[in-house]
Amino acid sequence: MAYEKRFDGRGFEEIRPMSAKAGVIKRATGSGWFKIGNTEAYAAVYGPREMFPRFKQSAEAGVLRCHYTMMPFSSAGDRVRPGTSRRGKEISAVMERALRPAIDISDFNNSVVDVFVELPQTDAGTRCAAICAASIALADAGIPMKDLVCAISAGKVEDKLLLDLEYNEDSHENGVDIPMAMLHNSKELTLLQMDGEISSEELGKAMELIKGAMDQIYDVMKSALKAKFEVKQE
């Protein structure tokens, strides 16, 4: 079968509309909001602060800790039960690995940088939106960073390679979903997951697609940060 036209009418390499903000949660050290299509993520950074429980402290360097949560009413299906889930724990862990290479917390020994992500509305691509929001929040918090991490999914539906899957594509029975995150400048991958079946040639092309989309995502994130820190000329 051929996938002629995307469910929502987009071009195959077209990303859903994105918007972002920095500094949306005043209690936090730094915060970010990132929306792509109908998927929306809030991220808040607290710290660097003393790590509890103490046995998890590292004398050598600071620790980055992520917590990913979908709000109970966020999903198009049944209510998401509050509390920890296996899925949430895994996503939190891959988020830590996706963000860790971009930040330098080597001087913050015995401390933790906590990143909390909450999603009020979801339509596939939640971990990527979470990483973008978290990246903005880390920058907003003033955590030393060498780059912003931008994330988006590529995939395949039937015979077509495409960017930024929405829910109907993600849950398509012949669909392949490849969420990826990259350091914007070096284009190195910090998140790479996949489910579905794909040839290595196609995977190569999917990675190129993502590389090509990095600037678009980066610009949205950068503008959000600039908007917050811009000094208004009198």
Partner: protein, 258 residues
């Protein structure tokens, strides 16, 4: 623990002032925005000053409880997210979260705004279960009032998803135009006592040092449908009646935002 803060507050209150310049019963600006999450059957965002919470309604079809085969049911849950304050820790709900949820639940339940008989689809077999979740985004104090207002706003916004009584299939993607029947407007205001002073809408700092609080849910006919006293100090009958008068006035203004 916060003795200096409390002394400073009391000093200011004796001059009818507060730390942020408000008078004791001044409320911060309130905004209510409905329909903020597409996937929920109903949703809302409530801001009181810098305090921000969002709420959503999900509707499920369940088998009615055996002791009430002709009734649907309702549940209100509050998530004090770690995202919204450094003081909200991960893990099982704290007593604060549980009390918040229960006070909010009681305010709406005891108003009899929701006729649970109307939520029955088929006696003993199928009935609607309405679940309201309120999640905090930024804690700048006065969560009791914010959470209750957000729960009511989301319920007012809620419509039923398509349900096929023959197959029992629930289609969340297709929403009907049928609104959740909610017949009254129970609005909650909490009055706080510091020394001899009564105060509304505390910031998070002010919320740490009160002597007593009374959470009051008021209906549009000025009757009261739930109460909860908190705090370590006692309150007199006269104070209680004063608190209720304050709540009556303030709930009118909050209700006008819905």
């Amino acid at each position: 623990m916060y003795e200096d803060l409390k002394n400073e507050m009391l000093k200011l209150l004796s001059k009818n002032l507060r730390l942020d310049g408000r008078a004791p019963t001044d409320y911060r600006e309130v905004t209510v925005e409905k329909g903020i999450s597409k996937n929920a059957e109903g949703s809302a965002r409530v801001k009181i000053g810098d305090t921000e919470v969002i709420s959503g309604v999900k509707m499920e079809v369940i088998k009615p409880y055996s002791d009430s085969p002709e009734d649907g049911s309702m549940m209100i849950n509050v998530e004090l997210t770690s995202l919204s304050s450094p003081e909200f820790e991960l893990g099982p709900p704290s007593i604060y979260a549980v009390e918040l949820a229960r006070i909010t639940d009681r305010g709406i339940r005891e108003s009899k705004s929701i006729d649970t008989k109307k939520l029955c689809i088929k006696k003993g077999e199928a009935a609607w279960m309405i679940v309201v979740d309120v999640c905090t985004l930024n804690d700048a104090g006065n969560m009791f009032d914010a959470v209750a207002l957000a729960a009511l706003a989301a319920m007012q916004d809620a419509v039923f998803p398509a349900y096929d009584a023959e197959t029992g299939a629930l289609d969340y993607k297709n929403k009907t135009t049928e609104k959740l029947p909610i017949s009254k407007s129970p609005v909650t205001v909490t009055v706080f006592k510091y020394g001899d002073h009564l105060l509304l809408d505390p910031t998070s700092d002010e919320g740490k040092v009160y002597d007593a609080r009374l959470t009051i849910t008021v209906l549009e006919n000025d009757n009261i449908c739930s109460l909860q006293k908190g705090g370590d100090s006692a309150i007199t009958v006269e104070e209680t009646l004063k608190m209720i008068e304050l709540a009556k006035q303030r709930t009118k203004e909050l209700r006008s935002k819905l």
